[in-house]
Symmetry: C2
Subunit: 330 residues, 2 copies
Amino acid sequence: MKVTIADVAREAGVSLQTVSRVINNKGEISPATRESVLAVIERLGYRPSSIARSLATNRTHTIGLLVPDISNPFWPEIARGVEDVLWQQGYNLFLCNTTETPQREEAVLQLLEDKRVDGVIVAGSRLPDERLLPLIAAHQSAVLVNRTLPGSGAGSVRIDAQDGARQAINHLLSRQRRRIGFLAGPPTSQNSRSHQSGYIGALEAADYLIEPALILHCPPYLEDGCQATKALLAIHPAIDAIYCYNDLIAVGALQACAEIGRRVPDDVAIVGYDDILLASLVTPALTTLRVAKYDVGAATARMLLDLINEQAEQNELIIKPELVVRASAP
Amino acid sequence: MKVTIADVAREAGVSLQTVSRVINNKGEISPATRESVLAVIERLGYRPSSIARSLATNRTHTIGLLVPDISNPFWPEIARGVEDVLWQQGYNLFLCNTTETPQREEAVLQLLEDKRVDGVIVAGSRLPDERLLPLIAAHQSAVLVNRTLPGSGAGSVRIDAQDGARQAINHLLSRQRRRIGFLAGPPTSQNSRSHQSGYIGALEAADYLIEPALILHCPPYLEDGCQATKALLAIHPAIDAIYCYNDLIAVGALQACAEIGRRVPDDVAIVGYDDILLASLVTPALTTLRVAKYDVGAATARMLLDLINEQAEQNELIIKPELVVRASAP
DNA sequence: CTGTTAGCGCGTTCAG
DNA sequence: CTGAACGCGCTAACAG
């Protein structure tokens, strides 16, 4: 059986309470008893039960992180940033994959509530506002990544996809690309809509007509990007550039072009988004928008902790991505 | 305030216990009262507190996963496999990065104990047996990935690195490579020693002398692999092949060769390990040993759950990697 | 089939 | 400065 606070108290010849005070550094305790209690704790190898503590304090020092899919290379670095900051502050992390499935996202959020997490970080949510809102509201504290949710009181950390898309399109236009396709990622992602408004905005600002048929949605994975690219180029052979929701799709586009004999960048320029490790290592190397993923994760975690401790200075943070020009769209 | 079981009981006009029974499907309950209790639960939106439940049952339905670094592309797929299986069985996952730091690994293992996790999965441990043993023993159930720990009672799932190394070396020898270097990864990794014994075994079996100086340790990352390769080739210019602890190191080796003007595979053949996404997409594509990462994660989680439920049929699983021949070592 | 009585291990009132 | 009693929300014996 585990040694409890009672064992320590008995062994040290003091009351339960005194032991508790020593552990939590609360109230004044005579150095003598403190030392002796500490010695007994050490000798018995006593460690307080987080569970019992949580029941009494109503805090778990645990937070939940929802990501669409941890095996998508964009998320691990975010998760790493989150976990590092949390660890430093004595918090643990529940990792939950939502697998792009709305029901699972809902179920996860409820389960985390049952587990009494002190807060949640919801990244890449695919839920519509009205379904997400009550689930977020049920949590004490929450920070959303790449999404807003008006009226929820949740914090928000976003990479400015609209700005990123604008940078990408302007770069392509400046290189004389005129028929720019857009592989827009999951239609249910708010982030996708931000990209799209940047894409449209930049083209309109340059007085180009928007052709809706140049925009194609697809899941954010390599194979899907490959297929979508083939479809896009089949319908619109004149396309001379493709802007992609993320790097995985962009690498898929690279593959598609190789397979159907379109040269990159000569025939078609490709621009990705995220700057995952892969981006700089494929051939041709991918022009993309660099996102400081680790920093985003760390900042998100810090914001959540501030929210939990009610000392948040801001509950909104927008980070601009940086265009990295490589061979796929020089 | 959260609605508790007492609220439900009062509202339904039954005792606490009856509500508890309904929730847990324990004992016989008259359909009538069951229905009415269920209705109240629904109406009040009652959800049992996992914390209170854990305190009473001594089970948390939570397990801890230790990985060296989730942003190393090898681990996310493992984590995904683990999380999927756990989720299906109603378990949650604490994700913990040990950052290749022994103290952090120790601290994490203790903290997970405080949190009363039902079990732990320890992947890529860097702790020596005598330090790891007590920490593992303190946990009810544990499964180690890519490592054994005699006398711990822990389960073990391993990818047979010795066999993988043997396959790689034999392949290289069959292609007339004679001076084969080995970038061995972290010296504190048991897995690294397995690779090494496969490397040595295969060479000895073919009657080649082992030159210790052809073996170099380095952290399992791209930059480190790049540096180590340069060092290796500087000392031993005659090397015509390099076998690497993992794909990241191998991609680093590819880069190093490009930078110093060694052609791959003409001058130097490179073989990696893991078959991460990147491996097939670099140029030249990497010959490597494919590891069914998701399956390893899923199998590990299943083994742990079986251990927890005391119905484990086996507590050891060894999976063979599969040689995938690509351009870097045809 | 259902209610009562005890804990689970700890923190937080209060007195002393 | 220290101790005793109570409660966190729930499950596990026992009764009935």
